[in-house]
């Protein structure tokens, strides 16, 4: 049986022919802007961090298990692939952290002017890159 909501999708085009009306919004017709790009990046970073928790839990469980289990986890994190994953995780973490603070700022009703939204957006991108580089340098120096 057809979905009753299909009735709402029935329409006519400019020539009068029956068409199935398109769904809105069409994200692909909009020019990417700093607002929309940073918004979807917040979600992408969040999902990446969720995947990254697998590494966090592996590291914790290995430390609680045995020297051999920990050596395996440490060897992965010390490998080239491990470094790329940790670097990506660090960038996702700082971006989600900084943009999360931006969201909390909005939640208390501040920073909604377009100029402020653009300024805080650029600040978030700059701060997350700087914090990522500093974190990775500190991590290498501490080894």
């Amino acid at each position: 049986m057809a979905d009753v909501r299909e009735a709402l999708m029935s329409g006519r085009n400019s020539e009068g022919a029956r068409v199935r009306r398109p769904l809105s919004p069409h994200l692909q017709v909009y020019r990417p802007q700093i607002t929309s790009t940073l918004s979807i990046l917040h979600r992408v970073a969040g999902v990446a961090l969720a995947a990254g928790t697998l590494l966090f839990v592996w590291w914790l469980a290995a430390a609680a298990s045995s020297d051999a289990a920990f050596a395996l986890a440490a060897a992965f994190m010390g490998s080239v692939v491990g470094w790329v994953v940790i670097a990506g995780f660090t960038l996702a973490l700082w971006y989600h952290f900084c943009n999360g603070l931006r969201h909390l700022w909005w939640d208390i009703g501040r920073g909604f002017e377009l100029t402020e939204v653009h300024a805080t957006g650029k600040l978030v991108v700059g701060a997350s890159v700087v914090l990522t580089v500093l974190t990775l340098i500190a991590g290498v120096a501490a080894r």
Partner: protein, 136 residues
């Protein structure tokens, strides 16, 4: 005049708000919204604390990590971090799934699988911390 029937009485007694409540697409939302913000605020200091601690213990041996995590203060903050992190992650992934997975049965199945996975990861992480903290 005869007494109103049960349904008529219900129509009179229930406010407009009472009838509208729970009829949205997600049936509820305030608790979810607030939980996401509360855990986000808690994760600000906990996240900074963990990153600093992780940098300080980069390249440490298992014994070094165990010594760090088994301290009562560290173990307490680690458990708080794990609780907030996985709660925040579950709430966030729930919204992503609700937005992108269409079809009732597929969506419910994905949500249940995600909730089970995040719960198991949280238990494993917490148990690992407790094992190190209580063994020392």
């Amino acid at each position: 005049m005869s007494n109103p029937t049960h349904s008529q009485q219900a129509a009179i007694m229930r406010s407009m708000l009472g009838r509208a409540r729970g009829l949205g697409s997600a049936k509820s939302g305030t608790g979810h919204w607030w939980g996401q913000r509360l855990t986000a605020v808690a994760l600000v200091p906990l996240g900074i604390w963990f990153v600093v601690g992780a940098i300080a213990h980069a390249g440490a041996t298992r014994a070094g990590i165990e010594h760090w995590i088994s301290g009562p203060m560290t173990a307490t903050l680690m458990l708080a971090l794990i609780a907030c992190l996985f709660q925040h992650m579950q709430l966030g992934l729930q919204v992503v799934i609700e937005d992108y997975v269409h079809g009732e049965s597929c969506r419910v199945a994905t949500l249940l699988a995600m909730k089970a996975a995040t719960a198991l990861l949280a238990i494993l992480a917490a148990l690992s911390v407790l094992k190190m903290a209580l063994a020392g």
